[in-house]
């Protein structure tokens, strides 16, 4: 009997060894943990339950029949993050370079199916050379199976992709369809075609890092949502993200004990808005001072800094924040910021996460560059996202809310539940000077008269009261009581029920 039990242990040992000591050392030398070490750190200590440890590929071509390592280059299973269930797969670069075979794909699909059936997030750790070429079209079919599940799972359970090594070619499209992509600085890259092909086709010489490294994807392409300094930090920050997210679209976001007074008054906010309306200020200060314990988990921090997106907690429960950032491009809405915020709003709406919108927006960015690249449709994405969202929506206008951008930023008209404004708010069609110049075109030559008209417009329209008179602003509040008012607003919306008309799906301007 003991021999039989020992056989299990022997087989497990063999599977755990992955591609062998030499390849494990090579992995470490590259600053990368092994697939199994990653899973171990991602999950609560001792909570990992593995599936399909003994699965092997079935290829016989190219001498593959002689090499059938247990697990076939991917580790799959489930475990907990702070006691909450998650499903995970982790590609093992030490086995066939983490390449994706038919069986490798089947292992991934199995846990994806289970995650959807049982309502828990899927975390994919990508570290793979690509398709298993020896398998040909069977490998491609494997990718397709994964893609199909990514799409079906989208909006049902949160999907998070960690790029912790190469991820190239068709493989990129699985992460691309998940909710969040995190990368590791200097040891991960993603591209559809690698530097060699780029050189052959376009004669462009570019390194893998420049083409698809963490910096490229967090700053330029916005494919990735964040990049961290090493594997450990990436895995720890993933745990932090999961703590903000509901397990599925049928659950409310999680709540945890908090140590911060919901009625906390922040007198310093009364002076946040500078006297000079053209002077910027840091919107992050407001977010920190509203949030429980000043904790803000930012998403896409390095991209389109003119809008901020991320998660905070109010009274211990998750709230998504979208905020114009006057420090960058005066907080203007443009293509990049509209896309960034629209995607974030839709994620929150899909997973029942209430949305707080902080508004200081001078309008949309003018210019040929924006128009040629389709700012109309990209801007419409954000408008669309806010308008269709049925989660609790609380909006606070701190300063400028001009023109179409005012409407876009979770205005009352887009079914905002609570639309607050500070006394410093200016809800108007445009800035005073521009308005005066249009309304009094005949006086354009007379600088003095225009100045007087500007002042007149400012007094009459550059305030929150015109909007409040019409009920577009529900209440003008003192800046110092923002946290208290916003906490109470969300508390009152916990039972909110709002349904959009039935449809197969909408047709957002992609």
């Amino acid at each position: 009997m003991s021999d039989i039990l020992a056989e299990l242990e022997r087989r497990r040992e063999a599977a755990r060894a992955g591609g062998g000591e030499r390849r494990v050392q090579a992995q470490h030398a590259k600053g990368k943990l092994t697939a199994r070490e990653r899973v171990e750190l991602l999950l609560d200590e001792g909570s990992f339950e593995e599936f399909d440890m003994f699965v092997t590929h079935r290829t016989t071509d190219f001498g593959m029949a002689d090499s059938k390592p247990a697990g076939d280059g991917v580790i799959t299973g489930w475990g907990t993050v702070n006691g909450r269930m998650v499903y995970v797969f982790s590609q093992d670069f030490t086995v066939f370079g983490g390449s994706l075979s038919e069986t490798h794909a089947q292992k991934i699909c199995k846990i994806m199916d289970m995650a959807m059936q049982n309502g828990a997030p899927i975390i994919g750790i990508n570290d793979s050379g690509g398709a298993r070429i020896q398998e040909g079209v069977a490998s491609l079919a494997g990718y397709a199976e994964v893609f199909q599940r990514n799409v079906l799972a989208s909006g049902v359970v949160p999907q998070i992709s960690l790029i912790m090594g190469p991820c190239a070619g068709g493989a990129v499209y699985s992460p691309a369809m998940t909710d969040f992509i995190f990368m590791v600085q200097d040891s991960s890259y993603m591209f559809v075609t690698g530097p060699d092909v780029v050189k052959t086709v376009t004669n462009e010489v570019v390194t893998a890092e420049e083409l698809g490294g963490a910096s490229t994807h967090t700053r330029k392409s916005s494919v990735a949502d964040a990049a961290f300094k090493d594997d450990v930090e990436t895995l720890m920050e993933t745990r932090r993200l999961i703590d903000f997210l509901p397990a599925s679209n049928l659950e409310k976001p999680p709540v945890r004990p908090f140590f911060d007074d919901p009625d906390r008054i922040e007198e310093s906010l009364d002076t946040l808005i500078p006297q000079n309306p053209n002077q910027p200020y840091d919107m992050k200060e407001l977010i920190h001072k509203i949030a429980d314990e000043g904790d803000f988990y930012e998403i896409q921090e390095d991209f389109a800094g003119n809008i901020l997106t991320g998660f905070i907690r109010l009274e211990g429960s998750t709230v998504g924040v979208v905020a114009n950032q006057p420090m960058v491009l005066a907080g203007v809405l443009d293509i990049a910021s509209s896309r960034k915020a629209a995607r974030f709003v839709r994620f929150c709406d899909a997973f029942e996460i209430p949305i707080l919108t902080l508004v200081d927006v001078p309008g949309f960015l003018p210019g040929t560059a924006q128009e040629y690249d389709g700012v109309i449709k990209h801007g419409a994405k954000l408008l669309f996202a806010y308008a269709e969202a049925t989660v609790p929506k609380v909006t606070l206008i701190t300063r400028k809310a001009y023109g179409g951008a005012y409407v876009v930023m979770a205005s009352k008209h887009l079914r905002g539940d609570f639309n607050y404004a500070w006394p410093t708010a200016q809800v108007a069609v445009m800035g005073a000077k521009g308005a005066a110049e249009i309304l009094h075109r005949s006086e354009l030559d007379d600088a003095e008269k225009i100045a007087a008209r500007t002042e007149e417009y400012e007094t009459n329209f550059a305030n929150p009261f015109r909007a409040a008179e019409r009920g577009f602003v529900d209440e003008v509040i003192m800046p110092q009581s923002s946290r208290k008012r916003i906490c109470r607003a969300f508390a009152s919306l916990r039972g909110k029920k709002l349904n959009n008309p039935w449809k197969k799906h909408d047709n957002i301007p992609l």
Binding site: E40, E45, R219, V232, E293, N306
Partner: protein, 666 residues
Amino acid sequence: MFKKILIANRGEIACRVIKTARKMGIKTVAVYSDADRNALHVKMADEAVHIGPPQANQSYIVIDKIMDAIRQTGAEAVHPGYGFLSENPKFAQALEAEGVAFIGPPVRAIEAMGDKITSKKIAQEAGVSTVPGYMGLIADAEDAVKISNEVGYPVMIKASAGGGGKGMRIAWNDDEAREGFQSSKNEAASSFGDDRIFIEKFVTQPRHIEIQVLADSHGNTIYLNERECSIQRRNQKVVEEAPSPFLDEETRAAMGKQSCELAKAVGYASAGTVEFIVDGEKNFYFLEMNTRLQVEHPVTELITGVDLVEQMIRVAYGEVLSLKQSDIGINGWSIENRLYAEDPYRGFLPSIGRLTRYRPPAEVAEKTHAVRNDTGVFEGGEISMYYDPMIAKLCTWAPTRSDAIEEMRNALDAFEIEGIGHNLPFLAAVMDHPIFISGDMTTAFIEEQYPDGFSGVVPDEKTNARLAAVAAHVKMRKEARAAQISGAMANHKRRIAPDWVVYVGKDQFRVSITEDNGCTTVAFEDGQTMEVVSDWTLGCRLFEGSVGGTPMIVKTDFIRDGARLRYRGADLNVVVRTPRQAELVAKMPEKVPRDTSKMLLCPMPGLIVSIAVEEGQEIQEGQALCTIEAMKMENILRAERKGRVSAIKAAAGDSLQVDEIIMEFE
């Protein structure tokens, strides 16, 4: 008594004067510029008058504007604070003409002490010890040797027109005097076009010690002991204390008596300060008299119990001084630290901006200890570019010097300032410096002890161990809370192991934590244990408690892989890992920070306005490379050295983050 006074100043000193006036039942009028519309002194005063644009020369020091404010409000007297108009005889005259009392000395005294030469002459005549020297012209090198011998070595040979150390020599003997004279003369001629030279005694181991005097207009003059102000940076006082750890009773009395004589000689009536330079042998020499309230007056108030502002107001009203010399004693010890909005890690560059967080320690006044914070700012307020970058004057008092220092260390640890760079870590370092602790410092202290500037404090291993205990404790609390999240699988909750590896600076500690009835015990690998006793909870930015029996106040902020701890001038990112994480991290190569010496990095978030060079272009040191707009200001970035541009990574119109690459060099 006056019914209403106007304070012709701003910031902490205006607030300070208002506090005393309020205590005396006197109404107050503040004046303010555009930049001070929301300032604390404006909020505290009963009335406030706007006096113009931010620049002081268009507001606070425009006599007419202050006079208008007086007329407008009917103030009967004016307290000028320090700086601005406080030592301007024209202002005092203007007030006199208007029949408004000046809460300061008579015009004659201001004038007499306002001029360096005249004041020295008057001082000599009044029997005050002055630096021996020869003010006349010196004919040749032999003349210089003769005079040097009369003055007594060491001597300083100085160019009349000199400044900044140019044309200055120190001579310890005849040969050096001869040679020094010649080289000073040559240097002076070429640098200033004026080769006049004078010689005076070179004061060795100089300390800056000053005497506070108080006089009324009825001929009564007393001194309120000394203040030691030797810790200075570029002639700006940083740390002051009273009494001086250096003076004996005899020297103190001699300095006090001479100071009173000087005050009498100029008909002084008000609070004033006589500054001396004191050498290692306790010889003291008159420097100058400040005919106003000094910045550092609180330390005197704390050891004498006298409210100097109140006395100034009473004297100005014409009252007879109610204090006699015999009423003035020395009770305990007081230290003042000046908190400046200057970044100590960047050569003390002024750092302006919004105070996103400003939480001074609680003020206390008890028999055993006291904390006083004179400030003119508040959380959410602005440190503007227009005025002195002082944030606050933090003072402590205790019966002994060492207790007062310890009180200061704790007060600094509890003082939270965020949003701008400030010198708090530097002050904390000074409070722990052995020379300061010994009291044996000279005016060269900062220059000698921090020749390459300040780069933070590196705590010893014992302190690191205590900080490790704090970091592990807060990490454990954080993880314990995380595990209490809703939606966890019943019966399969996360179990948190008690073992952690904590990295503090170069030190690494393996600890194990147990928590029992709110008491945390941290056991170290070497068998040592520490109890952590604190009512700290998550969300608190200050950890206050005791660690292994040592009371500690630590600024605690969570960072990604641990906690940022700030304590006693040290600013540490303390990493806390599980043993398994630590084991795995150890297997991996350490990440080498990229070499950025051949790159131009964006120094601040901003928008590229223009790029002034092209790829392949040769550039010279100092050449403009690109212009960045940040905070509505255009900043030109220049080449640090000669070279060639190899690649340009950004274009006009790009919005860049901090440390993004703009261009690379060969």
